[in-house]
């Protein structure tokens, strides 16, 4: 079942075109979004998070066409987003911060207290729930950011570099959370850490130079690599091979 559909997407910043005629289909599950720096991962995330208006193209999120204001609002209610540059209010406690975003996402007031506690617990911050955000470490802040993203049980979850700053143990826990979330939601995870993709993602999308150059299973990406390709792990070799192939292939 396709729940995110992008058709003929064009996005530019001034004269620089980031995407031109991009098509993308995402269904329920955890989708990795890979690509080198400047490939357009964050731009795609921002378009799907409805904070960047595309120049052209059709974007449908969870069956809602985001060009329609009332449909956009419906889609946003079911959206969770963790941007790459995650800002926060330092004087808020973790609980207050997540609670505030639950309100911004128009959750029914009666559901908020329980949902907030559940989200904080899922990211392992329950013991620090009443600490102010300014007293948290970088990894804890990231987890608080994930908590606000999942507080409304989103059907579309967009996480831009969610594992940045997490220690190995936290990353393992986070991957488990991703797998759990991906059971009934579309989860798109932008990352540079290909091992996260292998461990947690059901599908992989690879963008480069504003194009979607690969979409498939992690095993298919692994299989694309050979022993001669650069990389320390099978998926890194697959990643390198696909990128090199895309760059040498005629457009």
């Amino acid at each position: 079942m396709t729940t995110v559909s992008v058709d003929g997407l064009r996005v530019s910043y001034g004269k620089r075109i980031v995407f031109d005629d991009l098509d993308l289909e995402l269904g329920v599950g955890v989708h990795g979004l890979l690509g080198p720096n400047g490939a357009g991962k964050t731009t795609l995330m921002r378009v799907l998070a409805t904070v960047l208006r595309p120049d052209r193209g059709d974007v449908r999120l969870l069956g809602h066409h985001i060009g329609n204001p009332s449909a956009l609002r419906q889609a946003r209610r079911q959206l969770g987003y963790l941007p790459q540059a995650f800002g926060f209010y330092p004087r808020f406690t973790v609980r207050e911060f997540v609670e505030y975003f639950a309100w911004l996402k128009e959750m029914p007031p009666a559901r908020i207290p329980l949902a907030v506690d559940r989200a904080i617990e899922r990211v392992g911050l329950l013991e620090r729930a009443d600490d102010r955000m300014k007293h948290l470490s970088g990894g804890m802040l990231r987890r608080a950011g994930i908590a606000q993203a999942i507080v409304n049980d989103p059907r579309l979850l967009l996480l831009d570099e969610p594992t940045a700053g997490l220690d190995p143990e936290q990353r393992v826990q986070f991957r488990a959370l991703l797998r759990e979330l991906g059971l009934d939601a579309v989860v798109l995870v932008s990352t540079h850490l290909v091992e996260d993709v292998v461990a947690a993602c059901t599908r992989v999308n690879l963008v480069d130079g504003g194009r979607l150059v690969f979409t498939g299973l992690p095993d298919e990406l692994i299989a694309a690599g050979g022993d001669d390709d650069s990389g320390d792990s099978p998926i890194e070799r697959g990643y390198t091979a696909v990128l090199q192939g895309a760059r040498t292939a005629p457009r």
């Binding site: 946003r76 959206l79 941007p83 209010y89 309100w103 911004l104 007031p109």
Partner: protein, 424 residues
């Protein structure tokens, strides 16, 4: 909404706004207790005068609050949420407004307790003056919210506050014109003046429309901007084309006289009547000293009851007391010296030469001073020979001298006044 408001009240700019307004309120009340003490209308008027500084603080607080999303790099995350943008903005504005007003009201509540102990007049629509002041603070916070949204600089808040202070200060120079009603800051008119109900209602409507206009502009709600803008203009027109702020009528109930029933009569307006015991203690001995002297005042009356006219008439038997700034914070008389100085109107010869200017003959002035010192029973300086000589005369002769002085002063008989000064 309540949940978000509660969080903003605890963690946003609101607590700082409350502290700043409390501090500013206490400071302003402490600096000029004579402006408000003992009178409810004085307290309400003083709040409106204080808005010169308080509005500046509220604008700075509003700007700091609404610039928070950009400062904390969280605007994109908020933009991805479904709640319409005007709602978090309204909550942030409401939190700053509620906290700022609460902080100020705590300070003014302290003053209100002091006033409640002594006040002798509670009418005059002061409550509405206060209410419009609160609406002005809400509008100021909305100005700040708009500034914070439009100007992506950290210094926007302090600069907006300073600019407001200067702007409102400049507008006070237009006091007297109808447009001055659009400024929330009162020019400091008398406590017994009555602002017409129509003007108060229009001011309230204008400030409410302005608040909605500013918030709608900050939230980019074009339709609401047009509606509120239209309403603000519609309300502003009758204000700016109506009567100005000068010559406000006196509140008849506030200026109604309350008089002593024993000794030489002392009459104060009802709004100043809380001072009557303190004033009587100062004034009656002077009146008693003058009792029976032809041409001398027989009673002392609050100046607010003075008939309108270009000058104070001396021969109506009354000396007029200016009590506008004559109260301590606890409701006592602020300055006996100033009150006694009001009696100088009795001993000031108003003689004009043919060119129409007041005589400044120094010899006449010395005679006036001598008469004043005798009337007020001032202690004579060692080198003050005229006063010493006058005091050395028998009491009936002293009173005769003073009666002759009043007669000469009344007739503007300059040679007689000079002679009286030299013969004493």
């Amino acid at each position: 909404m309540r949940r978000a408001l509660r969080v903003e009240l605890r963690r946003g700019t609101a607590p700082f706004a409350a502290a700043a307004m409390l501090g500013a309120g206490v400071w302003m009340l402490a600096v000029h207790p004579d402006d408000w003490a003992g009178r409810w209308a004085g307290l309400a008027n003083y709040l409106r005068t204080s808005l010169l500084i308080l509005c500046a603080l509220m604008i700075a607080a509003g700007a700091w609050q609404s610039g928070r999303e950009r400062r904390r790099d969280i605007d994109e995350l908020i933009a991805s949420t479904s709640r319409p943008g005007w709602q978090p903005l309204a909550v942030a504005w409401l939190a700053v407004t509620v906290a700022g007003v609460a902080g100020l009201l705590v300070a003014f509540a302290g003053a209100a307790v002091l006033i409640a102990r002594v006040a002798t007049y509670a009418g005059g629509g002061w409550w509405w003056t206060l209410t419009v002041g609160v609406l002005a603070l809400a509008a100021a916070a909305a100005v700040g919210v708009l500034v914070g949204r439009l100007v992506p600089l950290r210094v926007a808040a302090p600069i907006a506050g300073l600019t407001t202070y200067l702007g409102l200060g400049i507008i006070t120079y237009w006091d007297g014109t109808p447009a001055a009603w659009l400024s929330p800051v009162y020019g400091g008119w008398a406590v017994y003046s009555l602002v017409p109900n129509r003007v108060t209602a229009l001011q309230a409507a204008f400030l409410a429309a302005l608040t909605v206009l500013l918030l709608a502009a900050a939230a980019r709600q074009r339709r609401a901007v047009l509606l509120a803008g239209g309403l603000a203009v519609a309300v502003a027109v009758p204000i700016t084309t109506g009567p100005g702020t000068h010559r406000l009528p006196a509140d008849p109930a506030a200026v109604e006289l309350v008089c002593t029933s024993s000794g030489p009569q002392v009459c104060l307006s009802r709004i100043n009547a809380f001072l009557i015991d303190d004033v009587t203690a100062v004034v009656q001995p002077i009146l008693a000293r003058l009792d029976g002297i032809p041409g001398a005042p027989r009673r002392a009356v609050d100046q607010v009851a003075q008939p309108a006219g270009p000058s104070i008439e001396r021969d109506d038997g009354a000396v007029w007391l200016n009590l506008d700034y004559q109260s301590t914070a606890l409701g006592g008389l602020a300055s006996r010296k100033s009150l006694r100085a009001d009696f100088r109107q009795v001993t000031r010869a108003r003689c004009e030469d043919p060119s129409g200017t007041r005589s400044i003959d120094q010899r006449v002035h010395r005679t006036d001073t001598l008469a004043t010192d005798w009337m007020l029973d001032e202690a004579a300086a060692p080198d003050d020979e005229p006063l010493t000589r006058l005091r050395a005369l028998p009491e009936p002769a002293q009173r005769t001298w003073f009666a002759a002085y009043l007669d000469a002063a009344h007739r503007c008989d300059i040679p007689a006044l000079i002679r009286l000064g030299e013969q004493s």
